[in-house]
């Protein structure tokens, strides 16, 4: 391949200000062979139970694995490699994905039909999953996308690229859950476009990986398109989680909501940079940003940055950003009810992210996520879901 070299972004770039680029620069991008049968057997034994009502697609290191998948309709796998690299710092990891992906998983939902799918992207070493989603007029897709480290102690790299065209009057409900190992590096780039009266509701849980960077580029191109973006990030140890969401409103009467809840413990760093741009034609647009972080640990760091760029009149735009610690009055209230300090803290941390996690689409997924969080939020997770 005679492709041009890809230069990684730098922290001088405003959209990458909070990213851990030093760690990302050490990531090794290389082609990944298809998994062996023995590996697949091991992976199959450790995958979560299939969610009722959902078909399942499994990609291992970006390779589609038919024998671990249950979905029969609504998707196709093509081996084409997308060579249309795009310019700009926000596209650099997407471009790397384009170079290293092992085909593209295409999900197309025909007009006025509904589909529920779970896509599990398993990583054993380095993985470059690619999802290309198209919802036709009035279609509905409930998609759960999970990133799964095959081994907790392996230094895995995931660099996912997800593109979605949400057609007119279509509805995409996207839940994204990170089940990364302790040494994992997780990168993703999402490019989403919403048509007229299209709706997109995202719920994302970022946790587990040593370093993560999530880049989302969303455009409301159709009138009255609507977006809800709910993200919870849990950092511990020396983890570094950074999310950047850029929403562009180009059509009138569009709406978007960003809700971020981040908890930074120990020496971890959690960041959310939410940028909303309202173009001159986007008259009557409404936006709301609620970005909150909780610091639990003297050396933890949290950055929340709401940004609004408004180029028209007659818009409603509100934003709020806070970084704080556990409320000592609330903590004492729980202690005064006999609840031990560690449990009380865990309950309050769970409560802090609960309004995001409550948006998860199925009770079974709730239970699986709670179990995954049990180590970091002991006791509270499973009980809070009951």
């Amino acid at each position: 391949m005679s492709a041009m070299p890809i230069v990684l972004p730098s922290n001088r770039d405003e959209n990458w200000k909070y990213a851990n680029l030093r760690a990302l620069s050490r990531a090794r991008f290389e082609p990944v062979p298809a998994p062996e049968a023995a590996q697949l057997k091991d992976i199959a034994a450790r995958l979560p139970a299939v969610l009722p009502g959902y078909g399942r697609l499994v990609l291992v290191d970006g390779h589609y694995v038919a024998e671990l998948s249950t979905a029969a309709a609504g998707f196709s796998i093509t081996q084409d490699v997308d060579t249309h690299e795009k310019p700009g710092a926000d596209q650099r990891f997407a471009n790397l994905n384009r170079r290293f992906r092992q085909g593209t998983c295409r999900i197309a939902v025909p007009a006025n039909t509904a589909l529920a799918l779970e896509v599990i992207c398993v990583a054993t070493a380095s993985s470059h999953p690619a999802l290309d989603i198209t919802l036709s007029h009035g279609a509905k897709l409930q998609l759960i996308e999970r990133d799964w480290s095959a081994q907790n102690d392996h230094a895995t790299l995931v660099n996912l690229h997800l593109v979605a065209q949400v057609g007119d009057y279509a509805k995409l409900e996207l839940a994204r859950i990170g089940h990364h190992g302790a040494k994992a590096q997780a990168l993703d780039t999402l490019e989403l476009q919403l048509g007229t009266s299209a709706t997109l509701k995202l719920v994302q849980l970022i946790q587990g990986a040593l370093v993560s960077r999530s880049t989302a580029l969303i455009e409301h191109v159709g009138r009255e398109a609507s977006l809800e973006w709910h993200v919870a990030a849990l950092g511990e140890g020396t983890q570094h989680h950074d999310a950047f969401v850029h929403v562009t409103h180009t059509a009138p009467g569009t709406r978007s909501l960003q809700c971020f809840r981040g908890i930074a413990e120990d020496r971890s760093r959690v960041a959310f940079n939410g940028r909303m741009r309202i173009e001159p034609a986007a008259v009557g647009t409404q936006t709301d940003q609620s970005l909150k972080c909780l610091l639990v640990g003297h050396e933890a760091e949290a950055d929340v940055r709401p940004q609004l760029e408004i180029y028209t009149d007659a818009v409603k735009a509100s934003h709020g950003a806070t970084v704080g610690k556990l409320d000592p009055d609330v903590l004492f209230y729980l202690l005064s009810r006999g609840i031990p300090p560690a449990t009380a803290e865990s309950i309050l941390k769970w409560a802090f992210v609960s309004d995001v996690l409550a948006k998860l689409p199925s009770p079974e997924l709730h239970a699986q996520v709670a179990a995954a969080l049990e180590r970091q939020l002991p006791g509270a997770a499973t009980r809070a879901l009951s």
């Binding site: 209230y333 729980l334 009810r337 609840i339 309050l348 409560a351 609960s354």
Partner: protein
């Protein structure tokens, strides 16, 4: 049940309790009244172990144990319950979860197994009837969006579920209308027992019309300056605090 001897305590730089003595035997209800800023809430918080309420000297014996050496949660597990004047809101933690977690913490302390789910719900529903609370309160965040009266009912609901040995109720009557006051008082009265002591911190006689105290104490300038029977509350209601402050001076 509770013996406080020469208790001195401060909040920040301000000394609030200044040689307080009080004895509350099991089976009795005591009311503590006093002017604003006299140290009533400080006493309640100091006994419950709230951070920032610092002991200077003195002792507090609860069921023969040194209460002040225990962590706040250990005091609660040992059977002390503080009913807050201003109960906090905890969005994201539902009422039923808090009740169950608190009950199980107490049971664990007593060496008992966690409460069975069916048994727990039966118990909570029974207590909610006493407090005339709708079951929808169970699934709501703790005190989240509750009115002042609903918060106080919720405090007493917790009290009824946890059945502590010693209840300190800090101005439980504040913010209650007449009907809610009767419900709250009824809830407290159902808990009266020979093995339990109740301390009511209040400004007003009206609560004591519904919960008959065995003793009434006047707390002023950080110490108990007068103790008497229930008639003292009526006299305070009629005459105010000046006369008793002057007598103590």
């Amino acid at each position: 049940m509770l013996i406080i001897k020469d208790l001195h305590a401060r909040v920040g730089d301000r000394k609030v309790l200044d040689g307080l003595n009080l004895e509350v035997p099991a089976g009795q209800v005591h009311a503590i009244m006093g002017p604003n800023g006299s140290g009533k809430s400080t006493l309640a918080y100091t006994l419950a172990g709230r951070p920032g309420y610092e002991l200077i000297s003195g002792s507090v014996s609860y069921q023969g144990r040194d209460l002040l050496t225990l962590a706040p949660e250990a005091r609660a597990q040992a059977g002390l319950f503080l009913g807050f004047q201003y109960p906090v809101e905890i969005p994201g933690v539902n009422n039923v979860y808090l009740l169950k977690a608190a009950l199980n913490a107490a049971r664990k302390h007593r060496g008992e197994a966690e409460v069975d789910a069916f048994e727990f719900l039966t118990l909570v529903r029974e207590k909610m009837k006493v407090m005339q609370m709708d079951e929808t309160f169970l699934s709501r965040g703790v005190n989240e969006g509750f009115s002042g009266g609903e918060k106080k009912r919720n405090e007493i609901l917790q009290l009824l579920v946890l059945e502590p040995s010693l209840a300190l109720l800090d101005e439980t009557d504040s913010g209650l209308d007449i009907d809610a006051l009767k419900v709250v008082a009824h809830g407290v009265n159902t808990l009266r027992s020979p093995n339990r002591a109740i301390v009511l911190v209040t400004h007003y006689q009206r609560l004591l019309d519904h919960i008959q105290p065995d003793r009434v104490h006047v707390l002023a300038r950080g110490r108990i300056i007068r103790s008497d029977g229930p008639e003292l509350a009526r006299e305070l209601e009629a005459r105010g605090y000046d006369w008793v402050l002057n007598e103590a001076a």
